[in-house]
């Protein structure tokens, strides 16, 4: 329970690898759980494992959420997270390659805490990732758990 968990929702394995590489490069203490689409993400958050307090896991510290995902997309995941009492205070950072105004507006409307555009340049991306980790895992005070779980 002490380990801080990042839920990374990313369908592109290359990007998953690069994101994890960037996070690790900066030695961020914490587990990285990867969901490859919206269904997996929701399963992780609301599935049996999530509810089973003993054997299962708690909620992640922060979700890094891509928007364009197979099956259930990022906006829907965000919507579900904000709709459920247990998850509604979870910090969600939208991490996407889209700079579409509509995506941005929709994300904030559904309660995203932050919206980060993934740059093509990896060095820049690496820098952004480091800042993200530092901010959300160390600097930011996590919200109190809802319902004592």
């Amino acid at each position: 329970m002490n380990k801080k968990v990042i839920l990374l929702v990313e369908d592109n394995p290359d990007h998953e690898l690069l994101t994890i590489r960037a996070l690790r490069q900066h030695g961020l203490a914490g587990d990285i759980v990867v969901a490859r689409d919206g269904v997996e993400a929701l399963e992780y958050l609301f599935g049996d494992g999530a509810r089973n307090g003993e054997a299962g896991h708690g909620l992640p510290h922060v979700i890094l959420l891509d928007l364009k995902l197979p099956r259930i997309d990022g906006l829907e995941v965000l919507h579900q997270v904000r709709s459920h009492r247990r998850t509604r205070r979870l910090p969600v950072v939208v991490l996407t390659s889209s700079d579409d105004e509509k995506d941005m507006a929709d994300s904030y409307d559904r309660g995203a805490n932050s919206y980060i555009r993934k740059p093509v340049d990896f060095r820049e991306f690496s820098r952004i990732t480091r800042q993200l980790g530092e901010y959300w895992l160390n600097l930011n005070q996590a919200p109190p758990m809802v319902g004592g779980m």
């Binding site: 990007h15 690069l18 364009k68 889209s98 579409d100 093509v120 340049d121 060095r123 991306f125």
Partner: protein, 766 residues
């Protein structure tokens, strides 16, 4: 004077009384009639019809007062006094008045006139003595019995000498000048009558041939004059007969208009050499004579006769003769006014040159009679003429109206107050298939208006076209239909207008047009509009779909095309970091190039997306102050590189209507280009202003930078087109393409003018 008196004296009453008197007296001069009988007749005519009291005095030779009859209205009936003794006892005042007027010798209207004797038309007033009597003291004095309210006294003239008098007196009414004129006519007639009686008595029943011929001629004249229908004919006959009956060498009649000016003159003359037959209408010969007579007669309202001798001594006539030597023969003159019914002087009858002897009282009486007859006939003829003109006008009006209704294209029909057809024009017949003869007298509603446009029956009670008969208000419809004789139906535009006479609706006129074509055109137009709308909707839908596709495409470009780039870039970096030590410089350089290329491509994708967004975004038009925008951008550019020496010259108050955000993009691109391409100058001048071209405002951004070669001007606005090497100036190659798209979306134009090394100017209109 109590009791029942005469009705108010009016011209009409006088006229009636006169007519009655003339009728009674005409032809009454049988043998055995005494002058006294004539006097009594006059009295009986006058009281009570025209007067409350009447005195008639007559005599012969030097005894004009020999006989007198006096009548006075009395509740019990007419009281008549015969003889001067009785008369004096009954009404001394009237007797004195009669005596006075014989001396005065002309009519007196009392109390309007101060009765004094004086000369008229050269005829000296004569008393019964040789000397002219003193002028004052003639008329009854206040002591002479009881005076009436009003009185007319007229002398009876026989051979122009006063041989008696008629006096009418009213105790209630005032007489007027018209009454005087009429009494003069009566007096003239009475004088003639008395003369005839005297003549008859003198000749003991043996009437002279001349008298008989004159009476016959008068009868013939009356018949002939009355037969005339035209004014001209009447006047001509009057003139001819007057000349012939009286036996004058020349005669003329002149008609006056209301202003007393001569309007029509007819003259006849017999040739002095006594050629038998009527004289020709010789106006030239007589005109000056007629005019002289009219001038001399003036407003003559009673006859005037002059003998040859009197005429020569007459001042006015002798003056005329002197003025026109040889043209005015002074051979006697008789002038008689023609009096109209309302007392107006209609004209003047003149005669000259009595063929035997001189003009005398008898001639005067005859002339007066004829003139009176002529006056009535002229008035009748005038009336007839007016009626004829009115009828002719009416006929012309009717022909005109008929011509219009026959030729106009609109259908016209009329109904009476019962709603029955009274008229139908040919156009209506053509349109309806009915002939007027078929349907006149029937209800138009039942014949061709019995159904509504939707085919349901149309009760006559609900017919609003016939309804105008009730409402009295015009009604117009474009929604009704008429049914032809063959049962086919056509839409009409109709207007019903009520005919209102004396405040009552007496019928209505309906004008209608067949509007089948109009309706058909309307229907086609509606169809066309509907199909156009459908097409617009289809196109819009297609456009929306295309737009959505484009949007989806753009989204996919931004997301999916960039993903592999990130992978390439990321793993190149990972390679460099993890295995860089195993690569030589060349290897590492290759990897750096791979990374640079991915970045470059990412930028291109961004630019394309941007361009497509500019094209798609909706315009929000408002007033945009370009000067202010330019100043903001200039400040930003200045801040980007504070060390650069740049002078911005921005014209004030340049405002256009357009999308604020997009116009900012335009100015940003143009100003940034100017800023960028003048970077090599030690001192930069960037100008924003307005000029005019074909009366349209043209805005421009000018710099003193490197400029460009006009040969490549057409490539300026192409996407990813660059006129300078990538290494020379930064830029993605879509700035001007974006500018062009925005300007075009505003309906404007943009173009560039430049010279290598000497700066560039970009113009645009909005």
């Amino acid at each position: 004077m109590g009791g029942k008196l005469s009705s108010p004296v009016s011209v009409a009453a006088m006229d009636r009384a006169l007519a009655q008197f003339l009728l009674q007296s005409r032809g009454r001069t049988r043998a055995g009639t005494r002058p006294m009988d004539v006097l009594r007749q006059i009295c009986q005519w006058a009281v009570p019809a025209a007067a409350d009291r009447c005195a008639v005095m007559a005599g012969a030779g030097g005894q004009p007062r020999a006989k007198v009859v006096l009548a006075r209205a009395h509740p019990a009936g007419l009281r008549i006094a015969v003889g001067s003794a009785q008369a004096a006892a009954m009404d001394r005042w009237l007797l004195r008045a009669a005596e006075a007027v014989i001396v005065i010798g002309r009519p007196v209207l009392w109390p309007e006139e101060r009765p004094v004797a004086r000369k008229i038309y050269g005829c000296p007033a004569r008393g019964d003595g040789a000397q002219a009597p003193p002028e004052d003291g003639l008329w009854p004095a206040p002591g002479d019995g009881d005076p009436p309210v009003s009185c007319i006294a007229v002398p009876l003239l026989w051979s122009r000498r006063p041989q008696g008098a008629i006096v009418l007196a009213s105790d209630r009414h005032r007489y007027g000048p018209d009454d005087v004129a009429f009494l003069e006519v009566v007096a003239a007639h009475a004088a003639l009558l008395l003369g005839n009686v005297r003549l008859a008595a003198a000749r003991a029943g043996r009437r002279s041939h001349v008298e008989v011929a004159k009476i016959k001629a008068m009868a013939a004249a009356a018949a002939s004059i009355n037969r005339q229908l035209s004014v001209e004919g009447t006047v001509r006959k009057l003139t001819e007969h007057a000349r012939a009956v009286i036996g004058a060498s020349r005669a003329a009649a002149v008609l006056f208009d209301a202003g007393d000016s001569p309007v029509q003159a007819v003259s006849v003359s017999s040739v002095p050499e006594k050629e038998e037959g009527r004289g020709s209408c010789d106006m030239d010969g007589l005109e000056h004579l007629i005019q002289a007579g009219v001038r001399i007669a003036g407003s003559l309202s009673r006859p005037c006769a002059l003998t040859r001798r009197e005429m020569r001594r007459h001042r006015a006539w002798s003056a005329e003769a002197a003025r026109q030597p040889g043209r005015v023969p002074l051979d006697g003159w008789l002038a008689v006014p023609m009096m109209g019914r309302n007392g107006r002087r209609l004209g003047l009858l003149q005669l000259w040159g009595k063929e035997r002897g001189e003009f005398d009282g008898a001639d005067e009486a005859i002339a007066l009679d004829l003139a009176q007859l002529g006056a009535v006939a002229v008035e009748n003829a005038l009336l007839y003429q007016q009626v004829r003109v009115a009828k002719q006008r009416l006929k012309e009006q009717l022909e005109f109206t008929t011509a219009i209704t026959r030729t106009i294209g609109e259908g016209l029909y009329a109904v009476d107050c019962e709603g029955r057809l009274t008229f139908m024009n040919p156009a209506a017949e053509r349109k309806l298939g009915w002939t007027a003869a078929d349907v006149l007298g029937q209800s138009p509603h039942q014949v061709f208006h019995y159904r509504r446009a939707d085919g349901t029956s149309h009760p006559v009670d609900e017919c609003r076209l016939l309804g105008v008969l009730r409402t009295g208000e015009p009604y117009r419809t474009d929604e009704d239909v008429y049914i032809r004789k063959d049962g086919t139906v056509f839409p009409i535009s109709a207007t019903a207008t009520p005919i209102i006479q004396h405040g009552r609706v007496t019928g209505a006129v309906v004008a209608f047009r067949d509007i089948s074509r109009l309706k058909e055109t309307q229907r086609q137009l509606e169809e066309l509009t509907a199909s156009l709308e459908r097409r617009v909707q289809d196109r819009t839908a297609a456009l929306v779909e295309a737009n959505q596709e484009l949007e989806a495409f753009a989204y996919s470009v931004s997301h999916d095309l960039r993903a592999p780039l990130r992978t390439i870039n990321g793993f190149s970096q990972a390679l460099l970091e993890d295995y860089g030590s195993r690569l030589d410089d060349t290897g590492r350089d290759y990897l750096a190039r791979v990374q640079a290329a991915t970045k470059r491509m990412s930028e291109l994708i961004d630019s394309m997306l941007y361009l497509s967004r500019v094209t798609r975004v909706e315009l929000v038009r408002q007033d945009v102050n370009l000067s202010q925008l330019a100043r903001e951008i200039a400040r930003e550019l200045q801040e980007r590189d504070p060390r650069r020496r740049i002078e911005f010259c921005i014209e004030d108050g340049l405002t256009v209507r357009g999308d604020r955000r997009l116009l900012r993009v335009v100015l940003e691109n143009l100003l940034e280009n100017a800023w960028k391409f003048s970077g090599t100058r030690a001192e930069t001048v960037i100008e924003f202003g307005r000029t005019w071209q074909d009366e349209r405002p043209v805005y421009f951004v000018r710099d003193n930078g490197v400029g460009f070669d006009m040969r490549y001007a057409d490539k300026l606005f192409g996407v990813f087109q660059r006129l300078h090497g990538a290494g020379e100036f930064e830029g993605n190659g879509i700035g001007l393409a974006t500018v062009q798209r925005i300007i075009r979306r505003h309906g404007g134009e943009v173009w560039g003018v430049g010279e290598e090394g000497r700066g560039a100017t970009f113009f645009f209109t909005v």
